[in-house]
């Protein structure tokens, strides 16, 4: 946090949470926070430039075991992004899997100041946190995987939601996590035997279905005043014809009353779950089906997981999905199953505009953003690095803002885009206010971070600000893309960290974690079962499992009391 005062003068401000839609305004900053007024500030002249709150990424894989396994496996990706150290920056490497330092710098250059690490294997949570500590500038948080855990499966089977809630509290606390992440519920446990699960299949040996897991975890989550809902990567990701299973999954939380004004489920990287057809041969977009569902309901929010054409490194706790992908491509494949909890797989992938399937995938992500009427229900992501690296966000922004650019791009892609996707027929163009919503406002609100100072510029908010070198009237897609790639200024907690597209300061970020508060008696009862698991089945001891305080040098705690 920077001491002293800063005044951003005459910028054209987009602050959707506070209803500010492109007004010329001054922003006052003191001691890292937004304030009403300042007396003797350093002044930044932002006249005619676009000013937004710092970007808030709701879903990105930036730190931890599988990200690093990807880096180890792919030195060829590392070589793509080599940059020397400077007087302020450490060495940089990588394109789809940048090293930790580059991750911080490159996000900051795009005006982002918070990123949610989307999948933390609980047993390896220390690793995730070690990397988060080495990502400069960005505030961060991480969601532990809780859906294939034996404890979860057993409590789902016994139907004991309170004890499940106690386990959820324990594991979020033990991992210094943020919320409940679900990835191929039941399917990843099945993958430990080389199998997979559909939504209503029985998980081998555990006799529960993925549908029951999702519903049970959503109910357990809402027992607390949790800032964020369950965050769901459903079953059969990436399989043709999965779109109905996707909305069937959304149906599961209908009627569950969320703690606050957010949906009861966030469904992530929806592009991968919006597939029609029965095989890759008749593969088609079903984005319309998904968007219509989201438009007609208030219990689910989505992020798009849009494709960036080119080579990337796919990685997910959805082990069987990565195995299928590897069988398609025959490229390198890494797998790491985690005892009693989860798994992961990693394989490189090339999204090509010449491929009919990739072309349709490319269209789907954008269709989801354009067909979802209310931008407060949809977030911009690429499920970094799965659909493409985060560094491609400015490309997507320029596409969403320019029908002309989309049409020009479609001409270069496989002609199937005109038959089996809706994108060419969509005229909608996002304005800057809507872009600000899907990159900060919606994401901060959905994650429950707005009241903790993220994603807006109201008095008391963190002084995390992006000033883009573009006029609000700019319509040239290339110029829009360029502006969103490298800010004029990025300010983090009142400190200028990027100036004219160069990183000029690298303060450490904070790690935000949630403490669900569970009744002691309930916790003790749950611990009897859990300790038995440690005694008999885990390969580390109960006492060596929780993440020690040493791994969070800059912690920020959010308490989540039990709902009365």
């Amino acid at each position: 946090m920077a001491d002293g005062e800063l005044l951003i003068r005459n910028g054209v401000v987009y602050d959707p949470i506070n209803g500010v839609k492109g007004e010329q305004k001054d922003i006052c900053i003191r001691d890292g926070k937004i304030v009403e007024s300042v007396t003797n500030p350093k002044v930044i002249d932002a006249e005619g430039r676009v000013v937004m709150p710092g970007g808030v990424d709701i879903h990105s894989h930036i730190a931890g075991g599988k990200v690093n396994a990807g880096r180890i496996m792919r030195p060829e990706d590392g070589r793509k992004g080599l940059e020397p150290k400077t007087s302020v920056c450490r060495v940089q490497s990588g394109y789809s899997i940048p090293n930790t330092f580059a991750t911080g710098y490159r996000y900051a250059k795009m005006g982002y100041t918070f990123v949610m690490e989307a999948a933390m294997p609980p047993l390896a949570a220390r690793h995730t946190h070690e990397e988060l500590v080495d990502i400069p500038i960005l505030d961060n948080a991480a969601m532990p995987l809780i859906d294939n855990n034996w404890m979860t499966l057993e409590y789902i089977k016994s139907g004991d939601t309170d004890l499940l809630a106690a386990y959820v509290a324990w594991i979020i606390k033990a991992t210094k996590g943020y919320g409940v992440k679900i990835v191929n519920p039941g399917g990843t446990e099945a993958w430990a035997w080389g199998k997979n699960c559909n939504l209503h299949d029985s998980v081998p040996y555990f006799d529960v279905t993925p549908a029951e897991i999702v519903k049970g975890l959503a109910e357990a989550t809402e027992k607390y005043e949790m800032p964020h809902s369950v965050h769901v990567h459903g079953n059969m990701l990436g399989h043709p014809g999965n779109f109905e299973m996707t909305t069937d999954t959304y149906d599961l939380v209908k009627g569950i009353k969320p703690y606050r004004d957010r949906p009861a489920m966030h469904a992530t990287h929806t592009q991968f779950h919006s597939y029609g057809g029965t095989s890759w041969g008749d593969f088609e977009s079903q984005a319309k089906h998904i968007a219509n569902y989201v438009n007609d309901s208030d219990h689910v929010s989505i992020d798009i997981g849009s494709i960036i054409l080119g080579d990337t490194t796919t990685m997910t706790a959805d082990g069987p999905m990565e195995y299928s992908l590897y069988q398609i491509t025959g490229r390198k494949w890494t797998n790491l199953d985690v005892e009693l909890e989860t798994g992961s797989g990693i394989t490189p992938f090339l999204y090509s505009g010449k491929s009919p399937v990739n072309t349709i995938q490319w269209a789907i992500g954008q269709e989801l953003a354009l067909l979802t009427k209310d931008p407060w229900k949809v977030a911009l992501t690429t499920d970094h690095p799965n659909a493409g690296p985060f560094i491609g966000y400015p490309i997507i922004i320029s596409m969403l803002m320019s029908k002309k650019r989309r049409d020009e791009s479609a001409e270069d892609m496989h002609k199937v885009i005109f038959d089996r996707a809706d994108l060419p027929s969509i005229d909608r163009e996002y304005d800057l206010n809507e872009i600000a919503i899907i990159t900060r406002g919606m994401t901060a609100k959905t994650l429950g971070l707005a009241e903790h100072g993220k994603g807006h510029l109201g008095v008391g908010a963190d002084a995390d600000i992006a000033i883009y070198d573009m006029s609000p009237e700019e319509r040239d897609a290339g110029k829009i893309q360029k502006a969103f790639l490298n800010t004029k200024y990025t300010i983090k907690a009142g400190e200028i960290v990027v100036k004219d597209g160069e990183v000029v300061a690298t303060p450490p970020g904070r790690t935000i974690f949630v403490t669900p508060e569970c009744d002691d008696k309930l916790m003790d009862e749950m611990l009897v079962t859990l300790k038995d698991k440690f005694d008999k089945y885990y390969s580390v001891t109960f006492n060596n499992y929780p993440v020690q305080d040493a791994y969070l040098p800059n912690p920020y705690e959010i308490k989540a009391p039990w709902r009365s």
């Binding site: 730190a63 075991g65 990200v67 690093n68 396994a69 880096r71 180890i72 496996m73 792919r74 030195p75 590392g78 070589r79 992004g81 080599l82 940059e83 020397p84 150290k85 450490r90 060495v91 940089q92 490497s93 990588g94 940048p98 090293n99 930790t100 330092f101 047993l123 390896a124 220390r126 690793h127 070690e130 990397e131 080495d134 430990a192 035997w193 080389g194 590897y326 390198k332 494949w333 890494t334 797998n335 790491l336 199953d337 985690v338 005892e339 009693l340 798994g343 990693i346 394989t347 008999k536 089945y537 885990y538 390969s539 580390v540 001891t541 006492n543 060596n544 020690q548 040493a550 791994y551």
Partner: protein, 435 residues
């Protein structure tokens, strides 16, 4: 006397974390439970380097920490191409400090993997690696293969805690419900326990992996009667065991990484694992040696993008094993100083590499004297990680565990702090010269 539980062993890649100790008067007096005999010996303590030392006229002379650290900084500051090697028997915090120092002085940073499982890393870069955590093996594995590894002696708790002898959810009967296959060039303590022992001819592992792959992929007919000294009959027997297993794992050791086809052996071992996957669930895992050799590779990768042998002299990270690996640099007489930490190249590097290492100024940081001490010019004793100081390490299956501090020391300094203090001195020297 105090009993301490959940002690984490800082010896080998098993990183056993359920050790129970008795401590009295700041000394470990008894290892009650959990450790193997080698681990026990480390926990009970043995001869230490007593003081920092600087070599003068061929003799190591005792000095203060400040003097030794200053001398170390002078060596590194003057050096054109320093090598910073070792990093495997210390904690991630020290590794991180070392990488930052190497980056600042334009050095080459490399760990013991370079002469150990480096070929395994190269193989992973070729084809990836399907693997799992050790608890998965404990709970599910019904077929275990040790290939070129002798855990009964080298990783003495491995079978008991994690694999053949351990009991888990679907393996409640321990070794009763499991099969053990050992592949080695000679009979070992481990092979004596095996259901099937395959004695392969020295350097012929590649051919044996190929033959097994061929059988698993349905090309039994192309396999000759004998491959690498192993009969077709025995190969068919093992292939059948693979086909019948629900959950199989291959653990491999130095016996395959540094013989014959080197990293290609491991590529083939991984392809063999993939072939096993056609029938059941199959994984493969290197038997990592030092307790944190895996951790250095992790830290180095997330910080530089590459796991070992990283040359930072260009300002960015340049990774090219064969060019930037320690032994190759030394063969070429390419480096003009070396910082050796938490390792012993004196005992493990080839002679030709050591000849150059003995010629250049060498700084050693280690709790214990070893052959490297014999030619080191500055010797800085360190606190013992996991006994006198805490810190993060990664088990052989990439699971992060935090070492505990068991005993107090009012004298020895942790590795991370020594490296940071050397770095601070280097910065001070640079400032003095007004660079």
């Amino acid at each position: 006397m105090v009993e301490i539980t959940d002690v984490v062993c800082s010896l080998c890649g098993c990183v056993c974390d359920d050790i129970v100790l008795e401590v009295e008067n700041n000394e470990v007096v008894k290892v009650k439970r959990g450790a193997c005999s080698v681990g026990k010996s480390k926990l009970l303590g043995h001869e230490r380097i007593k003081s920092p030392m600087i070599r003068e006229n061929g003799e190591l002379k005792e000095c203060s920490y400040d003097e030794a650290i200053k001398k170390a900084a002078e060596i590194l500051y003057k050096s054109r191409r320093p090598l910073l090697y070792g990093w495997s028997s210390t904690v991630c915090e020290a590794d991180s400090a070392g990488i930052e120092l190497a980056e600042d002085i334009g050095g080459v940073v490399d760990n013991t993997a370079t002469v150990c499982h480096g070929p395994s890393v190269l193989a992973i870069q070729d084809v990836g690696i399907p693997s799992c955590t050790l608890g998965e093996v404990k709970n599910r594995a019904d077929l275990i293969i040790y290939w070129g590894a002798n855990p009964a002696q080298a990783h003495a708790n491995h079978m008991k805690r994690y694999s053949y002898v351990s009991k888990g959810y679907w393996t409640a009967e321990g070794k009763k419900g499991k099969k053990l296959v050992v592949v080695d060039v000679r009979k070992t303590m481990t092979s004596k326990m095996a259901d099937v022992f395959i004695q392969v001819e020295q350097g012929k592992d590649y051919q044996v992996f190929s033959a097994l792959r061929a059988i698993l992929r349905g090309h039994e007919d192309v396999v000759p009667d004998k491959v690498g000294g192993v009969s077709k009959e025995q190969l068919l027997e093992v292939a059948n065991m693979v086909k019948e297993a629900k959950f199989g794992i291959t653990f491999f050791g130095m016996g395959v990484t540094h013989t014959g086809a080197r990293h290609n052996n491991i590529v083939n071992a991984i392809q063999f694992t993939r072939a096993g996957h056609l029938y059941g669930k199959w994984s493969i895992m290197p038997m990592r040696g030092h307790f944190n050799v895996t951790g250095f590779n992790q830290v180095c990768t997330w910080q530089t993008g590459f796991p070992f042998s990283v040359d930072l002299s260009r300002g960015y990270a340049w990774y090219n094993p064969g060019e930037t690996s320690s032994t190759d640099l030394l063969y070429r007489e390419d480096c003009d100083s070396a910082l050796i930490i938490a390792s012993d190249p004196g005992a493990h590097f080839p002679g030709a590499a050591l000849r150059h290492l003995a010629k250049i100024p060498v700084i050693q940081i280690d709790p214990f004297a070893n052959p490297t001490t014999e030619f080191a010019d500055v010797v800085i004793p360190a606190a013992i990680s996991g006994i006198e100081c805490e810190g993060g390490v990664y088990r052989m299956d990439n699971i992060p565990i935090r070492l505990r501090k068991i005993l107090e020391t009012d004298y020895y300094v942790p590795d991370a702090e020594i490296v940071e203090r050397i770095h601070a001195e280097v910065r001070a020297l640079r400032e003095k010269e007004g660079e």
